[in-house]
Amino acid sequence: MVTVSMTVNGRQVSKEVEDRRLLVDFLREDLGLTGTHVGCDTSQCGACVVHLDGKAVKSCTMLAAQADGASVKTIEGLADGAELHPLQAAFKEHHGLQCGFCTPGMIMSGADIIARHGSDLDEATVRLELEGNICRCTGYHNIVKAILAAAGEMGGGMKQAAE
């Protein structure tokens, strides 16, 4: 067993867990933050994406112990109180989700993409950057549209809409 302490969505947490505990299981089962999902076991689908010290990572592919001392943000911590993050709002407005299972990972990845690319974001870049996130429902069309719209909203600029 190992004691892990980290900041999750701005809250300091500390728990004793098995050394083999994955970060995603720590979030879902030890902290009850079930918005982060598990869709595969080979690190490809991206349903488990969270931000670790501000960067998008796959929480299924690291141990909780590796995140000891880090700051983690999950989908539950993205909105500012009752106010949705612009990306959350854009996913709703542009119908960027259907079954909702990949959505938390998509939104966390989308936020990371916007943070890294800012005003350089265009449709081709968004599509390439979504390499690590699989959606089976939407054909990505409206996800791409939502990320571009949110980038525009957030002042990142929007060179080209996904129409």
Binding site: V2, D19, Q44, A56, A65, R116, E131, G132
Partner: protein
Amino acid sequence: MYSLSYRRASSVEEARRLFKEASDAAYLAGGHTLLPAMKQRLAAHDVLVDLGAIADMKGIGVSGDGLTIGGGVTHAEVAGSQEVKGAIPSLAALAGSIGDAQVRHRGTLGGSIANNDPAADYPAAALALAATIRTDGREIAADDFFTALYETALEEGEIVTGVSFRIPETAGYAKFRNPASRYPMAGVFVARHKDGTVRVAVTGAGNEGVFRWSEAEQALSGNFAAEALAGLSVDPDMMMGDIHGSPEYRANLVAVMARRALGSLGSAEAII
């Protein structure tokens, strides 16, 4: 995943000690090869020694003709580094094409090199850029480092602390991705060095892992351009074959990617 003990090392020496104390330890760097294998119970280790907190393995620096990158530097850091972009832009571009954004945030140069996955990108750059692999005990020339599929010259417990790449006059990288895994099915790194020598290294395709394509190197030493490779091909018997690509197809891809690498000097082209 089987039961295990997690140890975080704060120095290379501590990592070595923790490794030695365990019966079947493994080093944990980015974890993007090791952890999926362990999750699927295809691999088991009693102790994982995390190298992620070792400050000495983090730096990037240029000195003379060499660019040295710490073993613990992530692919995203390499891709975004002004030093790397300035010294060897195609290496930065290669790093920016590895896996996906989330993998690049965690995966490290040392982990990629030490694993010698036949479908990894970095080994091609290491060979073509005449790199020196620095470990906690010695320096190994890239030509001597990659010994077989998933095998390297590393001794038990030896750690890749960094890699020094020779800064070329010009270089380029092109790869064709496996449509499922998105690892390269053929990736070719071409470099012309300042002493006029040419190196061409191929990853993803060879049935013994990364290799130097000497015929291409000879052909390119006179004329470092795609047309010099006209008609040149690798032997399909040396290629891997699977449901995604036969040896013949991979042989074709090697030739095509080599030409495209020459067409994208100073950058990288990834066909997906």
